[in-house]
């Protein structure tokens, strides 16, 4: 069930990060939109984690090293452009991946088919903002470019085949997924008058171990906050 855990943790962790925006968004419409995306992801996480075990035990009682999410999704929010860069990279990936899963006849076909509509909206939301910020003002252009650059090194990890989704029956060809992702991201970034970052996307100190349970420093603090109350009352129900 490691695939359900990997995809479930991606959704759980990104949902949590987006939830941190509540009350801090730059405009009221984005309070609604970011919460909406967070809620979609949380719903997906609950379905996926429930395939593995008890959703709350998995979310609240695992240690940091047992989480299987990508390092990309655990990265702190930064400014709005930084959050949008993370949204772009992840939502394009998730959309392409879920489209393939939905088209296949593996065990995730049903839930992917349902989620793919939500994810299409997340992708559209991210793309629209990349365009606005990239082609908005000088300041927003600079911030958007910086968000894309900073997170670039976390994108290579996305295309390491997820265990359980590495056979032909899964419907996912990871090399094709990667080239489709790169083409789609390049298209949006260039239309936004921005530049596709040049640095490495994996290898060396770049990301590549979240799926194996190796995370970045901010993640420990994130789950400490997330798990504190639940862990303070062992066995209680809420």
């Amino acid at each position: 069930m490691s695939a359900a855990l990997a995809l479930g943790d991606d959704a759980l962790v990104l949902s949590h990060r987006l939830g941190e925006w509540a009350g801090h968004a730059p405009v009221l419409e984005e309070e609604v939109a970011l919460a909406n995306i967070a809620l979609d992801l949380l719903g997906q996480a609950r379905v996926l984690l429930s395939l593995v075990g008890d959703e709350d035990e998995l979310a609240y009682l695992r240690e940091e090293r047992a989480f299987r999410n990508l390092q990309l999704v655990e990265q702190p929010n930064g400014d709005f452009a930084h959050t949008i860069a993370r949204q772009l990279y992840f939502s394009v990936y998730q959309h392409l991946l879920y489209e393939r899963l939905a088209a296949g006849d593996g065990e995730f076909a049903g839930l992917a088919a349902k989620a793919v509509k939500e994810v299409a909206y997340h992708r559209d939301h991210a793309e629209q903002w990349v365009l606005r910020l990239g082609d908005g003002t000088e300041e927003s252009h600079g911030r958007m470019q910086s968000g894309l650059d900073t997170l670039w090194r976390f994108t290579g990890e996305m295309f390491q085949p997820v265990e359980g989704l590495d056979s032909p029956e899964s419907g996912v060809d990871w090399q094709v997924l990667e080239s489709s992702w790169l083409a789609a991201v390049t298209d949006v970034v260039e239309r936004a008058t921005l530049t596709v970052p040049a640095g490495p996307r994996s290898g060396g100190w770049a990301a590549g171990a979240g799926r194996q349970g190796l995370h970045t420093e901010p993640f420990g603090r994130m789950i400490a906050e997330m798990q504190h109350l639940h862990r303070s009352h062992p066995g209680a129900s809420w």
Binding site: G23, L28, E29, A35, N36, R132, L229, S237
Partner: protein, 369 residues
């Protein structure tokens, strides 16, 4: 916002007055010529007949100003009110509760959106109202100047604060100003969700471990009196009430609504297995309602003056979010200007897609609860 549906009926009543006056016409105070008197007579007749006043109808300046003040305060309360509960999103103790809480905070943002839109029909703008909030020239409900110290506070807010809001707001669904009344219909539906979810959260705690029960009781102890203050000063000290009642913006007095709220809460507290922190609550056979203890109005006045536990924190966070978001709003405006020069550019980014998504939150909760 369906700001036009009931328009035509009212239009008929006010007839020529409208054609002459137009939107936002401002008859100078003291003007006594015939058309102005006609306007006022038509307006008074519409209010007396329980008809809705619509944006394009003539209305007295003071009516317009009163509505803007009240709707702005209400909208500000929705968005400031996101803060105390958002405080617990990242610590919600189960995924189900986390989904419910995120959806609730999202609903409050949506309420802010409807209310600012409704206020805009009176000739103001969201920007202007937010500027006044940030400058401390308009208020928000003082209840949000209290802190959420434990998880149980999320339940107490839902049960008591949303509960008090509903008691206050259900009569506003019949408010004389159409756009406000219609916004309130939608909002009240969602508030009653919030109230039930808060009650249910507290019930789980009350029936949980000893520590959870104590957490719930402590939250109710802290939120009860401030919730009673949400209905505003006692009738003999309320400065705006009388005129608002005459205009049918307000339909019940502060004290009347407060008593109604206490009557609703007493049996609910009993069912929750929690105590209300007022030894003087008892049934009054003669009144057919509950008597309750004296409210400490000096505390209310202090919080109103800015000396509550979180006044500075709430308004600072609001200002900071607004200031830090300025470059984002500027970018959206610049982009819109570049790419849609022929059209009137949307005042705020993503408004279409975001408001289309607003109603999704209740579904989320339904699915996940």
């Amino acid at each position: 916002m369906a700001a036009v549906t009931a328009h035509q009926t009212t239009q008929k009543t006010l007839g020529t007055a409208n054609a002459a006056g137009g939107a936002g016409s401002t008859a100078a105070a003291g003007e006594t010529d015939a058309p102005a008197a006609d306007h006022l007579a038509a307006f008074d007749a519409a209010v007396a007949a329980d008809e809705r006043i619509e944006p394009r109808d003539w209305m007295p300046d003071a009516y317009r100003a009163t509505l803007i003040r009240q709707m702005a305060q209400h909208a500000h309360s929705e968005i400031i009110g996101m803060q105390p509960e958002a405080n617990w999103i990242t610590r919600a103790p189960s995924l189900r509760r986390k989904a419910i809480l995120m959806a609730k905070v999202q609903d409050e943002a949506g309420h802010g959106l409807y209310l600012y839109s409704a206020a805009e029909t009176l000739g103001t703008s969201r920007e202007e109202l937010l500027d006044k909030l940030h400058a401390g020239r308009q208020r928000y409900s003082s209840i949000f100047n209290y802190p959420t110290l434990t998880w149980a506070d999320v339940g107490a807010i839902g049960w008591l604060v949303d509960g008090a809001a509903i008691t206050n707001q259900v009569p506003l669904c019949r408010c004389s100003y159409g756009p406000y009344a219609r916004a309130m219909v939608r909002i009240c539906k969602e508030e009653s969700f919030h109230q039930r979810q808060g009650y249910e959260l507290l019930l789980a705690l009350s029936r949980g471990t000893e520590a959870q029960h104590a957490m719930a009781q402590d939250a109710v102890n802290r939120w009860w009196w401030p919730s009673l203050m949400m209905f505003g000063p006692p009738d003999d000290a309320s400065s705006h009430s009388e005129q608002s009642m005459a205009w049918k913006i307000k339909r019940h007095s502060n004290d009347e609504l407060r008593r109604r709220f206490v009557d609703i809460c007493v049996p609910q507290a009993e069912a929750l297995g929690l105590e209300l922190p007022d030894p003087d609550i008892r049934w009054n056979e003669e009144l057919g309602g509950h008597d309750f203890g004296a409210i400490d109005w000096s505390e209310f006045q202090e919080v109103l003056k800015g000396n509550g536990p979180c006044n500075d924190q709430r308004i600072s966070q609001r200002r900071r979010a607004h200031e830090e978001g300025a470059w984002v709003r500027d970018a959206a405006a610049a982009y819109a200007a570049k790419h849609a020069p022929a059209q009137t550019s949307p005042r705020t980014p993503a408004s279409a897609s975001a408001s289309a998504q607003t109603s999704a939150s209740a579904q989320h909760v339904e699915e996940t609860a």
